[in-house]
Homo-oligomer: 200 residues x 2
């Protein structure tokens, strides 16, 4: 089996959420594993000089309309969160802490966090909310709560964000397959063609 498709996403990103709902099918169609890699857009925006989509004049209005339209297009449940965007560093740290113990559980946690935020309008910013959701997918709540304050856990998550930026990841979702970068759900057809043809 060929190498995994790197799947980068930010927990506050509607398009990242939609991608997370499409990711398993994509991997199955291509016969490739996906390596789920959450990161933070905040540090990316510092590097690129960009801002959250909804804060950009014109583009922001388009985006708000497009979040809902894109979710429907892809058959994904979606509810625009009342607090948006949010900081997701607790979710990020929790993901990698769980991932180092049980990758499958980390993926389940990512899906549960996304579902809470983008279908149930739960603010997944606070650490205690993240711990509660983690507990619902079988994570040891007390151990996770303690870990979230641990500087090694913070460093672990930060190193993933740094690595994503070093690889050129500037948006969510972002896929890298066989070294080739693809930004956005609307590039999934091109990604699939790339894999099938071995590039062009």
């Amino acid at each position: 089996m060929a190498g995994a498709i790197e799947f980068y996403f930010e927990f506050s990103s509607p398009y990242g959420y939609i991608a997370s709902c499409l990711a398993d099918d994509l991997g199955q169609r291509l016969g490739r594993d996906l390596a789920w890699k959450p990161f933070l857009l905040g540090p990316v925006f510092k590097t690129t000089g960009q801002a959250p989509l909804v804060e950009i004049p014109m583009k922001g209005e388009y985006s708000k309309r497009d979040f809902v339209r894109s979710a429907r297009f892809h058959g994904v449940a979606y509810r625009q969160p009342s607090k948006f965007p949010i900081g997701t560093v607790a979710a990020l740290r929790a993901f990698y802490w769980v991932h180092d113990r049980d990758p499958a559980q980390a993926r389940a946690l990512a899906k549960a966090l996304y579902a809470a935020y983008f279908t149930n309008d739960i603010d997944i910013g606070p650490a205690e909310t993240v711990v509660g959701i983690a507990s619902s997918v079988g994570v040891d709540a007390a151990a996770l709560a303690a870990a979230l304050g641990d500087s090694a856990v913070k460093d672990r998550a930060k190193s993933e964000v740094d690595a994503a930026i070093a690889k050129g990841v500037f948006g969510s979702p972002f896929f890298i397959v066989d070294g080739e970068p693809f930004w956005g759900n609307d590039r999934i057809p091109m990604l699939e063609a790339w894999v099938k043809r071995g590039g062009w």
Copy 2:
């Protein structure tokens, strides 16, 4: 026949050029006319606070790679211009001046300008270059050259740019069909689905 699909593009935009190569087929598939509407990204960037793609850290590197990859994906000839991006106000004014006399000729002019810039590496910024290319598609060169200095012709072109911005057009290509906006070539499949289903 239903109303035309508005097709907005900037003459310095690689993705606009690729769209111009796909536009006739798109119209044919959907049984809809396309109204070609060049505009300028410069005034848009002033409104949105954005910058040319290639000047944005990270995104710029991705874009340069993606221009070529996207052209190949769509089967479109492409050569990255050595001077890029460029100001295209002369091309814009020429287009609308020709358009008001002969819309089909204006479309031929747009295609010739794009081909010159994106396949033959000809800088289409200078007015005399635009006039020369216009002449090659049958436009009266002397009349066009005189018109390009006319303030009414300048105002006519500016009013189109203002109208595009008023409609929320912030990128190239940009399509509006039945009031619904679609940004980018990678949204053409969604646009087609929208037209076929009558929205969702």
